[in-house]
Amino acid sequence: MNSGREQILAKLRAKRDTSDAAEQAARQRVAERIQHHAPVLIPARGLGDKAELLARFQQMATEAIADVSLHETETAALAAIADQLQQQGITSLVTTADAQWQQHDWASQGIQCQVRPAQVGDHASLTPCLAGIAETGTLMITSAPHHPTTLHFLPDWHLVMLRSSQIVGSYEDAWTRLRQQNQQTGGMPRTVNMITGASRSADIEQRLQMGAHGPKRLIIFIVMEN
């Protein structure tokens, strides 16, 4: 294992100037780039005021084949979720740990709500997210002790609760939020998912089919906050 390492690094090093001064300058350039992690270029569509970004997020996520709806409060969003599940005859929901979600009266609409990682055969999951990125209608969702990643991939439907204050313009804005979260949690999570629309494949004759291996539907509930 080590021999491969030394061999490769030696070959790479041989291709650049490694005199003392050049080496020091190169190391400094690398260290600075990493330390500053400055954005390279943020396209104009990643910028805008709150209302613009909300509208752009809705437009881009819808275009990417996600369902998006706006709700005044989280309670209202939960009620809408329960209605939608009931209409489709879905009787079980798997979620991340969230006190308010667990307190919601799912049972009266014939829905069993469970907090656990997803399993094969699950119909629907509900998760929070870290950010909604307006430039492409993308959700950023991170794994955590009570937030297993399988919830985003195994169920047929993935429902996501997004607060309007979590909507940002660009990927770079979302990385800033991730860095803030990392400071609180002590580092990078195992998984950061950036999800744009529902699962799909065009591998058969280049014709788009929805629901390849991940969720067949991605449903986003935006809770408006002042």
Partner: protein, 479 residues
């Protein structure tokens, strides 16, 4: 994958006569270029992003060892294990060792061209580990004992009937006994079958589109979600990738992500862009217990500092092949190895040897379309020309070509004779033409069997040049 590059000419001839392949290639020609053009037109900063991506890649390549060391340090700090593989053999061995250490019987695999490059599936199978491809296209190919013909749409050479046949042959054991030609039903079948594999696998192997030095993470970009299930459900996640994939920071990665999907499928963004950092945390409820990254060199360090260095900027988007008239006519298999199209014509001679693949760069009309769409501005025609020069120097060019060039040179060195000859040829060709096109030309049926030859303009180049010079002088005199 076995090497069939030396047979390019024969392969191409067969491909041109293969009606079902030609039908399938029609889907590609109609699809990707149009979608890319729309996506590009919607992002005004696209050209500027391409410049910056080129410059950033150049910066990375001139500090490659330093960024790789930084990646290794941060990956290890987050609990990951980094393995360096100088060549394909080392990489295969490392992967097998990891599989054996956990007694793996089956491994699921996300789509990875590097895994094709090192011929991983055959190797694992020979050593008692069963690989299962999980990308829909790759899965279809595995059932058919076939190989990818495109780097992001691996089964582009197949039609619906081929998929129906493959599933009908292999899926009855899962309860699917009816043959269907409904694409949605076929995909639903694959979804059901694959879930059993996802859950049963001991190890999940994925590629990586980028490695982030700052965080020690790898990222995969997919639309299906198969890569995510591959890397989340088994005990062990192995990432097989190559050394040029490292980028400094998350912000730097964003630059490439903005270019990748738009250049590839014409999507604004791929559905799943997933960043993995280390194994599951002690308090996580799912995710792999081990996270390994294999960094493969396999000839790439030789390209650094050579005239082929620019090729190391490639982000494997496939735009060059999607826009290539040669690829669009013969498909990917004709190129005879893992990487087809213009990027393959440059990369393949480097990776498997100029003696095996030095003629691939001739499979180009030098129209320049590939370079014009490459998101990291790789001068692909120039690099193909370098290989041609090398091939010629090493006398690997076929004798007909050498004699032809020698004959041309004999005339070109004698201006009077050359002018007389070209005037006569010009006259004769115009006599042969109907409506400005020549549909049959002796000694050039290799061309005219497939398309008309345009008839020459009035007068040779030298005659026209002289006339132009004269008229410019006259105009200049009048001013």
């Amino acid at each position: 994958m076995e090497i069939h590059s030396p047979e390019f000419k024969a392969n191409a001839r067969i491909a041109l006569h293969d009606a079902s392949l030609q039908k399938a290639l029609g889907n590609l020609r109609d699809g990707f270029p149009r979608k890319r053009a729309i996506a590009v037109s919607r992002l005004p900063e696209f050209e500027q992003l391409r410049d910056q991506a080129r410059d950033l890649k150049n910066h990375i390549l001139s500090h490659l060892d330093l960024y790789l060391e930084t990646f290794e340090r941060n990956c290890t700090a987050n609990g990951g294990q980094v393995h360096w593989a100088a060549d394909a053999e080392q990489a295969r061995q490392q992967i097998l060792d990891i599989c054996r250490s956990v007694g793996a019987k089956t491994v699921t695999k996300g789509k990875s061209m590097i895994s094709e490059e090192i011929n991983l599936n055959d190797y694992l199978e020979q050593h008692g580990v069963q690989p299962v491809e999980t990308d829909l296209g790759e899965y279809i190919l595995q059932l058919r004992h076939d190989h990818p013909s495109h780097i992001i749409a691996p089964a582009i050479h197949l039609n619906l009937e081929d998929v129906s046949d493959a599933f009908h042959e292999h899926h009855p054991k899962y309860g699917f006994t009816e043959r269907t030609e409904d694409a949605a039903e076929l995909m639903a079948e694959a979804r059901t079958v694959m879930r059993k594999h996802f859950v049963a696998a001991d190890v999940g192997i994925t590629g990586a589109n980028f490695l982030v030095a700052e965080t020690g993470s790898s990222i995969i970009v997919t639309n299906e979600g198969n890569g995510d299930l591959t890397q989340t459900l088994p005990k062990v996640h192995i990432v097989i990738t190559s050394i040029e994939k490292v980028v400094p920071t998350l912000e730097d990665m964003s630059l490439f992500l903005r270019l990748l999907a738009r250049s590839a499928t014409g999507q604004e963004f791929s559905v799943y862009n997933t960043l993995s950092t280390g194994p599951r945390r002690s308090t996580d409820q799912d995710g792999p217990e081990q996270y390994h990254v294999i960094l493969l060199d396999n000839g790439r360090s030789d390209m650094l500092g050579s005239e082929f260095q620019d090729m190391l900027r490639c982000i494997r988007c496939s735009a060059c092949m999607n826009h290539c008239p040669v690829y669009g006519s013969v498909g990917g298999h004709a190129y005879g190895w893992v990487y087809p199209g213009p990027m393959g014509s440059v990369l393949t001679p480097q990776l498997i040897g100029v003696d095996q693949a030095g003629h691939l760069p001739n499979a180009s009309t030098f129209c320049g379309k590939c370079e014009s769409v490459c998101p990291v501005r790789i001068p692909l025609p120039k690099l193909m020309r370098h290989w041609r020069e090398r091939e010629f120097e090493r006398h690997l060019t076929p004798s007909t070509v050498r004699q032809g060039l020698w004959g041309w040179a004999a005339f070109a060195k004698r201006p009077t004779l050359y002018r007389w000859m070209s005037r006569s040829a010009n006259f004769l060709l115009r006599r042969l033409a109907r409506n400005g096109r020549i549909s049959k030309l002796p000694l050039a049926t290799g061309w005219t069997d497939w398309r008309d030859m345009p008839a020459p303009q009035q007068g040779t180049f030298m005659d026209q040049w002289k006339k132009r010079q004269q008229s410019e002088q006259q105009q200049g005199g009048l001013l």
